[in-house]
Symmetry: C2
Subunit: 189 residues, 2 copies
């Protein structure tokens, strides 16, 4: 998506260790007009798929998921990082490793909000190793619902998570796909 | 706001200990069409105030803040709960007590994203003791920016935080104001 690529080039910063800093418009300060255009593009890509629920993970996925839910006309659910290891019977839960924070979180979603028959679009700001996406997909499958696909803002293709999941049959649409990053430049696919 | 009050009555649940559960439409599963109407109402209430930034706190404030930013045509910033006590020089920081979780968080916002001259609307899903709002207001003041006011989805008036802050001169617009809650009923102001 040209608009997002241009914004990454103008406002993004590449930091050592494979970190792309986009917190000026995507995940600390957020440009909702850009999110709206991104949501419209995901709507176009997933037209006809009868999505009735958007699923993301707190915290930085919530903004884009809100706009995707608004454009698709359906509710969104955000999976929560649990503070406790004592998981109640009222939730589906999964372990998710965080690339950015270098730790593992137990992530939960209430059984009330994903049901068999739901057609779920998973939305997130980043796709790198794919750990969050694998976890969210597992939550949907625990519920007996269908993962229609994933809508991602920025995919770091060189980290391999996206292609591995595509090989397993998951549809993933990423609005900007980064092939390579060096110290202060990046290349899109 | 009638629409929100009706939704609280139909889908909210009162739990022991002064907890109002609205996670079916506001802070776990979220209805973006409802958020849009809430954002339009805040736009009406704050018309002419030349707000150029929306500030909230992760995680459950992000959804409504996204929609308010979209409707007002300005960016939103969400303050982050810091994982570390070592706060860098690049952020403003403040301590915020959580009523829901019974703990204290260090909350930070990058100095890049709140500047002197900014006219900030603070947005959150709940106002109870006012601790989050006091913290967010302090962050804006550290930056030398102006707090235009606060836009809150649900105020638990009986917990007193809102009225205390109003007495100190802060403008607060709450879209649903709960006067009292008992075991399984609630009364709006």
């Amino acid at each position: 998506m040209e608009l997002l690529q241009q914004r990454i080039l103008s406002d993004g910063k590449v930091l050592p260790g494979g970190i792309l800093k986009v917190d000026g418009f995507l995940n600390h300060q957020i440009d909702p007009a850009l999110l709206y255009e991104m949501a419209k593009e995901l709507q176009r890509l997933y037209a006809g798929e009868q999505i009735n629920k958007v699923l993301t993970i707190e915290a930085s996925g919530i903004a884009i998921a809100t706009m995707v839910g608004y454009v698709l006309g359906c509710p969104l659910v955000f999976a929560k990082k649990s503070k406790t290891k004592n998981i109640s019977n009222n939730v589906y839960s999964v372990e998710v490793e965080s690339f950015t924070h270098g730790n593992t979180n137990t992530v939960v979603v209430s059984r009330e909000y994903i049901k068999p028959g739901d057609r779920v679009l998973i939305v997130d700001d980043f796709l790198a190793t794919g750990a969050a996406l694998v976890g969210l997909k597992a939550l949907v499958e625990q519920a007996g619902a269908t993962v229609v696909g994933a809508g991602i803002a920025i995919e770091k293709v060189f980290q391999g998570g996206g292609d591995l999941l595509r090989q397993q049959g998951l549809r993933i649409e990423s609005l900007a796909r980064i092939a390579a990053m060096s110290d202060d430049s990046l290349t899109f696919c």
